[in-house]
Amino acid sequence: MNSILSIKGLGKKFGGVCAVDEFSLELEQGTTHGLIGPNGAGKTTIFNLMTGIYHPTAGTMALRGTNLVGLGSYRIAQLGIGRTFQNIRLFTQLSVIDNVVMASGVDATYGMVDAIFKTRRYQRDEAKIRKRARELLDLLGLGGVSDERAGALPYGSQRKLEIARALAARPVLLLLDEPAAGMNEEESMELVGFIRDVRKRFDLTVLLIEHHMSVVMEICDRITVLDFGRTICNGIPKEVQANRSVIDAYLGETTDREN
């Protein structure tokens, strides 16, 4: 198997607070990896470091051998890391299909002159982009609402639309930040099937943050558990479930809180 993403000794300090400490991760092409841990463990911070929203204070990151440290967010996205956000960030005023079209910059190869004179090249690219956007929406079951305003969609559909938008940019690695948040058990399981399907269809590697244990255990090939910015466990789902420190730090604690 070949590694697609390699993170070594990643660290991020906010003032005196150490949000992420000595985080390392190797992702195999075509796998799904889970990132779990209690609130404030540093999971989203790691996503933000990987996508250039924050810059790390220590460590290295590389996607297929290309260094990611110090690059702008847009550049990292162009290199092939797509993501969704914990607090959904859609273009809420725009239509559903425009949200997807917006992310199709990679498929628009024409220049400004082509745009001004609406040349054949412009028309060909635009037609292709529209067609692909409709395909992606159909795939996510959003084909029927493509002209609705994105902000008017129900929560679950907004999450799906964010995934469709991320896919439009043709990523090789997809970061999903709590994709099942706010979904019930049935919807979560539907999402699991969907993520599997998408991963296979687009030959993706998936890294996801999730609190629904049923989703994580079902879909992930490997899991990394974080607590206070530190990795406390890393392994296949069975190992993680059996790990004492994980149960203490996370699983036990959440059940206590929920009860």
Partner: protein
């Protein structure tokens, strides 16, 4: 034939439409507010006027020279200031507008200073103005309907998400800013060759504010809204001309009224098209029908 007064009004509308089209790209689509675009208009006006008078260049060459200088200065200014947050960027453009005026007055050997620059050949005719205004709007409309317009819109709507799908937000802010400077410079060149006499005061902050007000009244994210609003707001003070000293008061009240009644502007998020009009009429009919159904 139209009276020369009417012709003058149409030319003025056309010149303003060109400048406002640029501001519409910048403010309406990219979401950046500038109070310095009259400064770019001044650059275009002075550069093209000096080229025509001192260097005897043909009209077209003078215009292009004005546009290019505005573009270069816009690029430099954007590079320095577009990293700033929205409100600080606004202040920077405000400062730029003032600096341009002061510099024009300072270099009075070349520009005529506060006394103005005269004897500019009258080249901007009615037809030239109309054709160039229509052409400018068409160019802007086509840009909006391409990936460029989409990327501008992405910057306005949600910068973090725009970056996350691979849009270099700084680059597209820069592009929108330079485009708005070019449109302003172009309008300035036409302005100079219509009035034949220019003074720095013509391009003060009021003029910049007027462009931005026009776009806001017309509605964000609507090029046709900006154009309609520009025609109305340019002609409005003329309609009230008989009321002499009260006309700016009425003008101000009209702007406030529009913003209160329609906070998203006349056409916010919509473009004027037959499809849109039909949809609106159907919606209205639907509303009255459902009301009748209830009673």
């Amino acid at each position: 034939m139209l009276s020369s007064y009417a012709q003058g009004l149409i030319i003025l509308v056309c010149i303003n439409v060109i400048a406002v089209t640029g501001v519409s790209l910048l403010t309406g689509f990219t979401g950046l507010f500038s109070f310095g675009n009259a400064g770019f208009m001044a650059l275009g006006a002075y550069v093209s006027a000096i080229a025509s008078v001192e260097l005897h260049t043909p009209f077209l060459v003078s215009l292009v020279a004005g546009v290019l200088v505005a573009a270069i200065i816009g690029f430099g200014l954007g590079r320095l200031t577009l990293g700033l947050r929205g409100d600080y960027f606004l202040i920077a453009t405000l400062g730029f507008g003032q600096v341009v005026q002061v510099l024009i007055e300072f270099f009075d050997k070349v520009t005529g200073g506060a006394r103005g620059f005269a004897n500019i050949p009258p080249k901007t005719t009615l037809w030239i103005a109309v054709v160039l205004a229509v052409g400018s709007v068409a160019v802007a409309a086509n840009l909006i309907h391409s990936k460029f317009g989409r990327n501008f819109t992405a910057v306005r709507e949600q910068e973090v998400a725009a970056e996350a799908v691979g849009i270099d937000t700084f680059r597209f802010k820069q592009m929108a800013f330079v485009l708005s400077a070019m449109f302003a410079g172009f309008a300035g060149g036409l302005f100079a060759h219509y009035y034949m006499y220019i003074v720095p005061k013509m391009f003060d902050i009021n003029e910049s504010a007027l462009f931005t007000i026009t776009v806001v009244v017309g509605g964000l994210a609507s090029l046709s809204g900006s154009v309609i609003s520009c025609v109305v707001l340019t002609l409005l003070p003329e309609l009230f001309r008989s009321l002499a000293s009260y006309r700016m008061l009425f003008y101000g009240m009209a702007v406030v009224a529009i913003i209160l009644i329609r906070p998203s502007g006349l056409m916010g998020y919509h473009e004027l098209s037959f499809g849109w009009i039909r949809e609106r009429m159907r919606a209205k009919r639907g509303k009255t029908a459902s009301k009748e159904g209830k009673t």
